[in-house]
């Protein structure tokens, strides 16, 4: 009798325990960017124990010694230099109304790359650096630039260059819409799409350092810190917008329009989980 009672009591206690834990389980499913970031960075430092956190911003060039040597040689005569020079000149040339890009940005646009993208609480959306540059142009009566072409790459190259070494510092304000934007970006990152059925994570989480034919896949960690990039494969410069749209085409998916809300959210997520890693752009890639 007492034995049966003890068993029942134990069952009841167990059931209560399960109930007591239930809210905790649900809490683990809630949106927790800080925990995501820690897990994301730990995944890469565990997978590549020889690399320091800041090394990851060199993409495929960080993945082994041979490639790292190639990168050092490339940095002697960086292929993005023309673009950087052009960007510097564009940035300091006044618009027709006499104002400049510097008038649109905090600290006159110098050394601020690490704060983009940010969540604009007035608009309720993510604002990227490329978007802010075009909004600056339009506010001053200039036509917007193509997000995927040379001029936008040149401007962001210059702004990244003045921010080199500064740790990525993306903020998620205490606003449910900001958390939602972050979460949507995360979902985009991990969702498979296209005829080839790849997510961003398929290549850049599951397979960094591996080769597809002769090309080495870059780690997702720090991947945007190097933007914009000169890619030998493109024989030219590319913005973050160009990288996202061409990735989607390569997996035989339909790319979104540059600066579509989903790409803005993706950039927000991917930049946030690289917080603390230095800005290294403009970068060079094979």
């Amino acid at each position: 009798m007492t034995a049966r009672f003890a068993i029942r009591a134990a069952f009841a206690a167990f059931a209560l325990g399960v109930l007591a834990f239930a809210p905790v389980t649900r809490a683990a499913d809630s949106i927790d960017p800080a925990a995501d970031k820690a897990a994301f960075q730990k995944f890469f430092t565990t997978k590549f124990p020889k690399l320091k956190l800041e090394d990851f911003v060199n993409g495929p060039y960080s993945m082994n010694e041979d490639l790292h040597k190639q990168w050092e040689e490339k940095e002697q005569f960086p292929p993005y230099e023309f673009s950087l020079e052009a960007g510097k000149e564009m940035f300091s040339t006044p618009f027709k109304n006499g104002k400049t890009y510097a008038d649109c940005f905090p600290n006159k646009g110098i050394g601020i790359r690490q704060n983009y993208p940010y969540f604009d609480e007035k608009e309720g959306k993510v604002v990227t650096l490329e978007l802010a540059l075009n909004r600056c142009r339009e506010a001053n009566g200039e036509a917007p630039l193509s997000y995927v072409k040379d001029d936008m790459a040149a401007l962001t190259a210059y702004m990244a260059f003045t921010s080199r070494g500064k740790p990525m510092d993306i903020k998620i304000p205490n606003d449910p819409r900001a958390l939602q934007a972050y979460q949507k970006g995360k979902e985009y990152f991990y969702t498979r799409r296209g005829q080839l059925n790849f997510s961003c994570a398929t290549c850049h989480i599951q397979s960094p350092g591996e080769r597809i034919r002769a090309e080495v896949l870059a780690p997702a960690l720090g991947i945007l810190n190097a933007m914009p990039i000169y890619r030998s494969e493109w024989s030219g410069m590319g913005t973050t917008s160009r990288r996202f749209t061409t990735c989607n085409s390569q997996i035989r998916g339909v790319p979104l329009d540059p600066q579509d809300d989903e790409y803005r959210n993706l950039e927000y997520y991917l930049s946030y989980v690289s917080n603390g890693l230095p800005i290294s752009g403009p970068g060079a890639r094979p």
Binding site: N197, C203, Q206, S207, R213, A214
Partner: protein
């Protein structure tokens, strides 16, 4: 008689002769190899080391000794949709997403069985 043969017709007749001389299986395997190395089609070489292919990728395992490891049906299933066996796989579902036709998958598997 021979003098009335046009040159293209003669070449065609010659090619037909060669094709007939090759067993159907070997012909299909040769076709499969072409698909496996073609960037727009099977593109197996992008991720797998395959004998006879230059600059292979490293994501998947080397494709060798497959006849001993898998039955023909298993190979067809893997190429058609490996996510059914392993949801985490990187491998594209060539059949499910119509990257390759049934006939093309058969040819690729004929080739895989020669490795």
């Amino acid at each position: 008689m021979i003098a009335t043969f046009s040159k293209p017709a003669f070449v065609l007749a010659l090619l037909a002769g060669i094709a007939m001389a090759m067993p159907a299986q070997a012909q299909s395997a040769a076709e499969g190899q072409k698909l496996a190395f073609d960037r727009g089609k099977g593109n197996c070489l992008t991720c797998h080391v395959i004998k006879g292919g230059d600059l292979p990728g490293t994501i998947g395992p080397e494709l060798t000794g497959l006849k001993a490891k898998y039955s023909r049906d298993e190979l067809i299933a893997i190429v058609t949709d490996e996510t059914r066996r392993n949801p985490q796989t990187v491998m594209p579902p060539f059949g499910r997403n119509r990257i390759l036709s049934e006939k093309e998958i058969n040819a690729v598997v004929d080739f895989l069985q020669t490795l």
